[in-house]
């Protein structure tokens, strides 16, 4: 009887000096795996122009019908993306999304990427619909925000020149 009690107390005592498996979330966040599929991000080129061309193929690929895209035309005065077309409306309903990543697969410009963020909570169904402003990644480095005023003839190609995937 005492022997069993002693063994139990020993286990307790030992675990007090072990490294804990839990973390102090939300103060501490565990890094996600390389292929983690979290909240979507709409990517930009280095100059700040949006990669998304509003083709709606992500919406077509989406098995949960969570994406709504509407396109409009770029001009040199008001340019969002290279080429003729950009997404004037881009919404994802995060309540519908099943984070399958098909949108990422379908994207011809690698504009939509499932990111690291998994902290999705809402108090209202409307909040679950993320508009383009929330999905677009912030401008990095030298880039400017969109819409940009660009030189005529600089960004006339609709898709960045097609290349084989590098990695």
């Amino acid at each position: 009887m005492l022997k069993e009690l002693g063994r139990g107390m020993w286990t307790t005592l030992r675990s007090m000096f072990e490294k804990p498996v839990t973390i102090e979330y939300p103060e501490v966040k565990r890094p996600v795996r390389a292929r983690f599929k979290g909240r979507h991000e709409l990517k930009r080129y280095d100059n700040g122009l949006e990669k998304c061309i509003g083709c709606s193929l992500c919406a077509a690929a989406c098995p949960a019908d969570a994406i709504f895209v509407e396109a409009a035309e770029n001009t040199d005065e008001v340019r969002f993306s290279p080429g003729e077309r950009y997404a004037s409306t881009y919404e994802i309903n995060m309540l519908r999304c099943i984070f399958c990543g098909y949108c990422e697969d379908a994207c011809p410009t690698e504009a939509i990427v499932l990111g690291d963020n998994y902290e999705l909570s809402f108090t209202d169904r409307r909040q679950a619909i993320y508009p383009k402003e929330m999905l677009l990644e912030p401008v990095r480095g030298e880039g400017k925000t969109t819409p940009q005023k660009t030189e005529p003839g600089e960004f006339i190609r609709s898709i960045p020149l097609m290349e084989n995937p590098k990695d």
């Binding site: 061309i53 083709c55 193929l57 077509a60 003729e84 004037s88 919404e91 609709s158 290349e163």
Partner: protein, 838 residues
């Protein structure tokens, strides 16, 4: 009877008429031979080489002329050394065609690869992506990989506006020439063409304004790639996201079958809106074409200026009110008016609306009138074209008389079909006071002076024939002989230069001519009215009749006026002066917009547009066709028939006001010609050729373009009224007065309420104009394109002067619905304005 020929295609036996092309013969038995440049409505050219097949012909012994037999007793087949194009090779007896061998597959694979060498592959941003023949055929027959280098691709201009309606993407063009051939062969508006050769070949427009054709939108349907797209739908949505609803075009009496593509739109606050209008196949009405007015003119239905709440005049101001209050007021005043109720409906309404209008009006013994400037709808019900009539069948042995109508402007699809009938050998007789576009295809041209329309047609009956036209050797006598001797004969009468009075005389003369030459009561024979609105014929059938020519006595004697889908005071301010003399008259306007008439109304009731509700129109050929609700209705609006029924209910009589099908059942029970019809019958379809396939993945689209399959009804042609035709008294009608005569003409794009809200069309609509002969202009001191002021019916107007040799001397053409009110021919005074050449 053409000879039938049997052949084998991929092991299937086919029997088709001699002269059929392989590609069509194969399609008949469900074998798809891929094509890019071939189109079943046009002559083959064999430019794209996609349709290559292996063709074997039976070996013939030269000595005996008999087929050589093999050991099994079957004829020996000799295959050619090279492949043949299926689109240019006609069938012959005993042929064997192989379209599925490795040799053929390899050839097609190479063709696709070759076509794609300089295609930008920007399908994700292309409006055609998803319903693109090039995409589909690449997936089905292409190599999957290319051996060409992307760096060496030809880069060309991406967004070239051919006009303000159509954009060209030079990179995507595969140079099949379908668009150029459509404009040359089918429309004969050769405003676009090829420029340069080989790799530098490009499509250019040589008209000003660019792509100046009212059929230009059709080229985007038949373009097998995304090279031609419309400005209206540019980046509007992806084709697979669109829902489609069948409808009928409400712009003219042809009754083209159309499909509305709708989708929710963020820009409109998440509402479902119409994204584009596409043709819906009906080979007896519009084939697979529609005109640009039908394609781009729908925007008025989604205008922000639409009425959304009932208005009642309180203290001199129109103020929003509840339906209950408005309807209660209207009902009490209508009941009080009794016989003094005048209802004015227009051909913009559906049959159900017009039927209910008449029921309500006759319930209190009022008068239900049709707002129109044309007469003769009662005659077309008796001597109209009989069921089975099809302009597409007319050819040799048929005479078509087009009287006082500029069909290109009034009913473009009829222009197209009659032009084609003339090219197939029909005798086309064009009678008009001025040259029209259709004359180029006419066998006989009759030129009269304005005012002598009926006389001229009457002269054809008695064969007096005095008039000859310079440059045209034929006379009225020749024309009337050709007309009388033709096996079948059709007359289309319009309103070029005519008011109601002239139209009455002309329609009677036309009816008399048909009766005298015994061209009545049979298919492909009879009278067709080129009405100004889609359902004028239906309005006549529902028993509405035009007001008298003067209109004033009726307006003055009415105690209450119920104007539905018409704007008499906007069209003719002169009437307003008369009306203003009657302050006690109670005016109710039921419309989509706050028109000039509505501004004067005591009560305004907001109605629904035809895109938001169900109904049936009767076309000029008297084909009853159904349309379906495409877009959600504006809140707090009702269909016209429902509003009328609710007024009737408050007046104590019961009309059907909920289900349009039930109203139609009542029509079928009441109106003799509509007996036996029902919504279900109107929704019946039949097999049509060429088959366009259905759904987004429709197989037939590469074959004949992106027109939609007809799945919701081809409509039913009404039988003729069984009552024998009473002899029609033709009132003679002469113009009085001297000096310059103003005559009204119809132009396709006008400033009417159902056209002008489409901003895209504004450039085509242009300024209000008046057309003069240069000699008259010189006499008046008017310079081309200068501003002139004109006095018409006591009022002053400004317009831009167009000088045109084709306008008869002493006449000024004034377009209808462009801002100058004109009901019929009348005297006009024109003075040159300041001499600023615009």
């Amino acid at each position: 009877m053409t000879k039938l020929v049997s052949l084998t295609i991929d092991g299937k036996q086919v029997t088709v008429p001699e002269g059929t092309l392989f590609v069509d013969a194969a399609k008949r038995v469900g074998i798809d031979i891929p094509v890019f440049c071939y189109h079943p409505k046009m002559e083959p050219v064999g430019m794209c080489r996609m349709c290559l097949v292996d063709v074997g012909r039976p070996m013939i012994d030269r000595a005996t002329g008999q087929p050589v037999m093999d050991e099994n007793g079957a004829p020996k087949i000799q295959f050619g050394a090279k492949l043949d194009t299926a689109c240019t090779t006609p069938v012959s007896e005993g042929m064997v065609v192989i379209g599925a061998s490795d040799k053929v597959k390899a050839a097609r694979k190479d063709i696709v690869e070759f076509i794609l060498t300089s295609h930008p592959l920007d399908c994700p941003v292309c409006d055609k992506g998803g319903e693109c023949p090039l995409q589909n055929l690449t997936m089905a027959y292409g190599p999957g990989e290319t051996r060409f280098l992307y760096d060496d691709k030809l880069h060309l201009a991406k967004q070239v506006p051919l006009g303000e309606l159509i954009y060209l993407d030079r990179e995507r063009c595969i140079q099949c020439g379908r668009c150029v051939r459509f404009q040359d062969e089918i429309v004969d508006d050769p405003v676009i063409g090829f420029f340069n050769r080989g790799r530098s070949l490009e499509i250019v427009t040589h008209s000003d304004p660019g792509f100046d054709s009212v059929f230009s939108g059709n080229t985007t349907d038949i373009c097998p790639v995304g090279a031609l797209t419309t400005a209206d739908f540019r980046f509007g949505a992806r084709p697979w996201e669109l829902k489609s609803t069948s409808s009928i075009c409400s712009q003219c009496p042809v009754g083209c079958n159309i499909t509305f593509n709708v989708r929710r739109e963020a820009a409109s606050g998440g509402k479902t809106v119409i994204k584009r209008v596409m043709p819906r196949q009906n080979e007896t009405v519009n084939e697979i074409w529609i005109c640009d007015k039908g394609r781009f003119g729908y925007h008025y239905t989604e205008s922000d200026d639409r009425l959304t709440t009932p208005l009642i005049r309180k203290n001199g101001e129109l103020t929003p009110a509840s339906w209950d209050e408005a309807l209660g007021l209207v009902a009490s005043r209508f009941s009080a008016a009794g016989e003094g109720l005048l209802t004015l409906g227009s051909g913009r309404l559906s049959n159900e609306d017009l039927f209910n209008l008449r029921q309500l009006t006759e319930g209190v013994k009022g008068k239900a009138a049709l707002y129109t400037h044309m007469a003769g709808g009662d005659l077309t019900a008796q001597v109209g074209v009989a069921p089975g009539t099809d302009f597409g069948e007319m050819g040799k042995g048929t005479a078509i008389l087009v009287a006082a109508s500029d069909l290109y402007e009034e009913a473009p699809i009829w222009f197209l079909r009659i032009k084609q009938a003339a090219e197939r050998g029909a005798t086309l007789i064009v009678a008009n006071a001025r040259p029209t576009k259709l004359e180029a295809y006419a066998s006989h041209v009759i030129r009269y002076r304005y005012g002598a329309e009926a006389e001229t047609i009457a002269a054809m009956t008695v064969d007096r024939g005095p008039t000859t036209v310079a440059g045209h050797p034929s006379s009225v006598a020749d024309a009337s002989k050709a007309f009388a001797e033709a096996e079948n004969a059709v007359i289309l009468f319009g309103s070029d230069g005519l008011g109601l009075e002239g139209s009455q005389a002309l329609s009677a003369a036309c009816a008399n001519l048909l009766v005298a030459t015994r061209h009545v009561g049979r298919a492909n024979n009879g009278l067709v009215g080129v009405w100004s609105r889609a359902n004028d014929q239906g309005a006549w059938d529902m028993g509405l009749r035009p007001l008298t020519v003067d209109r004033r006595p009726e307006l003055q004697s009415a105690k209450a006026i119920y104007v539905v889908a018409a704007d008499p005071f906007g069209d003719d301010p002169g009437l307003l002066a008369t009306f203003n003399l009657q302050p006690a008259t109670f005016l109710v306007v039921q419309d989509l917009f706050l028109t000039e008439t509505a501004r004067r109304a005591d009560v305004v009731l907001p109605a629904q547009a035809f895109t938001e509700r169900e109904g049936a129109y009767t076309s000029g050929e008297r084909r009853v066709q159904r349309f379906y609700p495409a877009a959600p209705a504006r809140p707090d609006t009702w269909p016209d028939f429902a509003i009328t029924a609710q007024i009737a209910q408050k007046m104590g009589s019961i009309l059907e006001g909920r289900v349009p099908a039930a109203v139609f059942t009542q029509i079928a029970a009441t109106v003799a010609a509509y007996a036996g019809l029902s919504y279900r019958k109107l929704a019946e379809t039949n097999d049509q050729w060429p088959s366009v396939g259905s759904g987004v993945r429709r197989k037939g689209l590469y074959f004949s373009g992106t027109a939609y399959e007809n799945k919701q009804g081809v409509g039913i042609h009404l039988p003729l009224s069984p009552t024998p035709l009473p002899p029609v008294n033709m009132q003679s009608f002469h113009l009085q007065g001297e000096g310059l005569l103003a005559v009204p003409v119809t132009c396709l794009y006008d400033r009417g309420q159902t056209v002008y809200p489409s901003a895209l069309l504004h450039q085509r609509i242009g300024e209000v104009w008046v057309a003069l002969h240069p000699a008259d202009a010189e006499r008046l001191g008017v310079v081309a394109n200068s501003r002139v002021s004109l006095t018409l019916g006591g009022a002053e107007f400004d317009a831009t002067a167009r000088l045109d040799e084709s306008v008869p001397q002493g006449v000024a053409l004034i377009p209808r619905s462009m801002g100058i009110p004109i009901n019929g021919p009348e005297a006009v005074e024109i003075r040159a304005g300041e001499r600023v050449v615009l």
